[in-house]
């Protein structure tokens, strides 16, 4: 296991302020249910304070003790979900969807662009491949930290990553101006004004 660390962990004031609200969502005596939100809180605090989003083992112990649950049970949860990073990731964590729809729509080019970014700016970018992230309609999809960037190709991915590197904050969503998941180039149906639509069925 590579995720051992001598670091000690404690929640800072920002996180601490959120904890009571999180725990209060669960019935009394069932506070262990808050384990996932708290681990997420840990990961966000790490990102906020160190630019590296991850969950150190010391933090899992802190969460376990806070929720009065066996530490082993927290290790189980933290290792089960790949969203919890057991090792530090870089400031921009690139998560490339490579499942069939994205792959058919050219995720290989996205992957290459990401690989290149990690190879040249490894102090800023880290990456991993994901299974379907549920946005196939705008494939191929790249998830950067919390945001989805869609309808990518190689060139647009490179430009996107370059923007991140410069410190810009590119707008999440489709990179070709698609509205949400509407058809490319605007809508192709539902042109009629539904407010005037006569159902014709009053029986």
């Amino acid at each position: 296991m590579n995720d051992m660390t001598t670091e000690t962990f404690s929640f800072d004031d920002v996180s601490e302020a959120k904890i009571p609200g999180i725990i209060a969502k669960y019935p009394a005596g069932r506070q262990a249910s808050a384990v996932m939100p708290l681990l997420d809180l840990v990961q966000r605090q790490m990102a906020r304070l160190t630019d590296h989003a991850w969950v150190p083992r010391a933090a899992m112990d802190v969460v376990a003790d806070r929720l009065a649950m066996p530490r082993m049970r927290v290790y189980e949860v933290a290792t089960f979900y790949t969203m919890f990073h057991l090792k530090p990731v870089q400031k921009f964590h690139l998560q490339v969807c490579t499942t069939t729809p994205c792959w058919l729509r050219g995720s290989d080019a996205v992957l290459d662009a990401c690989r290149h970014a990690v190879a040249t700016h490894g102090d800023m970018f880290s990456m991993e491949e994901l299974e379907c992230v549920g946005a196939c309609v705008n494939a191929p999809v790249l998830v950067i930290n919390d945001d989805y960037y869609e309808d990518l190709d190689g060139a647009r991915t490179e430009a996107l990553l370059e923007a991140f590197r410069r410190g810009d904050a590119p707008k999440p969503g489709s990179t070709i101006g698609r509205q949400n998941s509407a058809p490319e180039g605007g809508r192709t149906t539902l042109f009629a004004d539904v407010t005037k639509h006569d159902t014709g069925a009053d029986s």
């Binding site: 296991m1 660390t5 590296h52 066996p70 530490r71 082993m72 049970r73 290792t79 089960f80």
Partner: protein, 691 residues
Amino acid sequence: MPKVTVDGIELEVPNGFTVLQAAEAAGKEIPRFCYHDRLSIAGNCRMCLVEIEKMPKPVASCGQPVGEGMVIFTDTEKVRQSRRNVMEFLLINHPLDCPICDQGGECDLQDEAVGYGRDHTRYHENKRAVTDKNFGPLVKTVMTRCIQCTRCVRFLSEVAGVPELGATSRGETMEITNYVERGLTSELSGNIIDLCPVGALTAKPYAFVARTWELRKTDSIDVFDAVGTNIRIDARGSEVLRVLPRINDAVNEEWLADKSRFAIDGLKRKRLDRPWIRQNGKLQPATWDAALSAVVARLNGAEPGRIGAIAGNLCDAESMMALKDLLVGLGSPNFDCRQDGAVLDAGNRALYLFNTTIEGIDEADAVLFVGVDPRREAPVLNARIRRRWVENTGFVAGLIGPYADITYGCTHLGEDGAALRALLDPAHEFTVKLAAAKKPLVIIGQQALARPDGAAVFAACWQIAEAAGALTADWQGFNVLHNAAARVGGLDLGFVPADGGKDVAGMVAGGVDVLWLLGADEIDMAALPPDVFVIYQGHHGDRGAARADIILPGAAYTEKPGTYVNTEGRMQLAQRAIFPPGEAREDWTILRAVSALVSKPLPYDDIEALRQRMGEANPVFASPDTVRRIAPQVGLTPKGDSGQLSDAKFTAAFATYYQTDPISRASPTMAKCVTDILPPAMPAPVQQAAE
């Protein structure tokens, strides 16, 4: 009571039975890996498939409750084929390294593969490999063999109450691990070796030592605590190679504590295998003749009232009987088996037994521990109390004594006499809870009784028990928990000072000129005046032997037939597994020989006659394996006065669970446990730079 039909056999089974249990009741064997009747149901191995009429697919019988009129088939072609398929999947990632696996010959997977395995594999991809884990000095892991039945995980969290194992990751990468790479801290961790259906968890000290079919198996009784765990000793030639629990639902169910399982390598070290005589301040090897004549000369030369004897913690009742008879023959009233000086009244069994009995624990709904750490002093018994806590959400537990994590929710009420005195107040919060309980237990430990005000502690506990309704006609909840296997036997035999006799403290303070230590190593040797002549009879070169003037080599518990009475008063017989080493002899025969030489021959020449004598001394010894729940006698009151209770703190019975007696102190495995498991609650993790 639903009626079911299993393979044409009609039977009625209790409500809530599973199909697997019903099949067993019908005498049908169902293969299983994950199911274990003392653990929760996991249903993850799928080996227990059966067919049930009107159900389209085979069903995992271990998790399927029976229904009225169910028709179950356990051995159809479809069932067999399904099990073959399950087996094929289980073997996909199993290394099939049986020739170098310690489980070989007693492996569930191996056994079932005989019935359901294919003779070749259809899987040509790479098998998955899993890195081995560090579970400490007792449990060896070969995790590639693991079939992820989670029995070990469930045992540690459900029975042992030390949830240190779990399954990390998922799917192909799932692993059974403690994640932190340090020793398991449960005193019952060895049981996961027995539970593991494959060779993933094996005994580390026993690695590559023997095959099961080479071993001679002997039924015996464990002596490392006073629970009287039923054990099987596996020996080859003149060596004890391992100890396993035997099933006895009334005592240990099927568990065994780690010390009892792993301290046995101490039996091969520091042994006294010949007599020794101290000459010019140094112990010199001697012959039996020389040693016995020296003993006899001393005994004959001493004033009878100045001869004394102390029996240790591991003694069999036979040798204590012989020693007592010898002393009485010599005219001495000075003998005592309460090495720790516990104030125990040998006159009435109700005043020194675990009266509720171990099985009786299953009815209890509250417990107060006084001066005892049940987890370390009686791990198996503690697991039984723990089960009550698990089953019963209202279960109340409180502890007075040094703080100890006893693996279940327990209020620490304080660590001194004042805390105990506070409970005498009927308005005390805990006293109220205890009184509200229907079947409360008050469990008092040896450390509570070994204090100068032990009698007062005893009386206070008695009062608390009485007030809580633990001393009524149908519930006897007052219990003394012993931690020495020999103690109850000694008390039953009246191995306590006769009229005018001196107790351990009196003898150690110089009340005798000749002191016979029968395996007594836990008294304060430094306090013994230098001119006291010490005869040490025992099996290990431990503290007693170091102080001795003459050493008579005796036999360890594995090397003699012996009788032991456990803390609940159950008398049990242990068989001899191997012979004592070198010139060492069975203990009672040594005493018999000495008695002849001092012309006070003991009236028994063989062990049957000796046992008959024991039966006459106390009928307990005539009825093996029985306990009687003692109804509290009317008007019985202990001698002490709770008003004399001092404020002194209670102390822990031993510094470490792993080293408590001559055998475990000689055991390298136990020494390793002390260094590897105990001290750092959480060792500083390995330093690693962030990647």
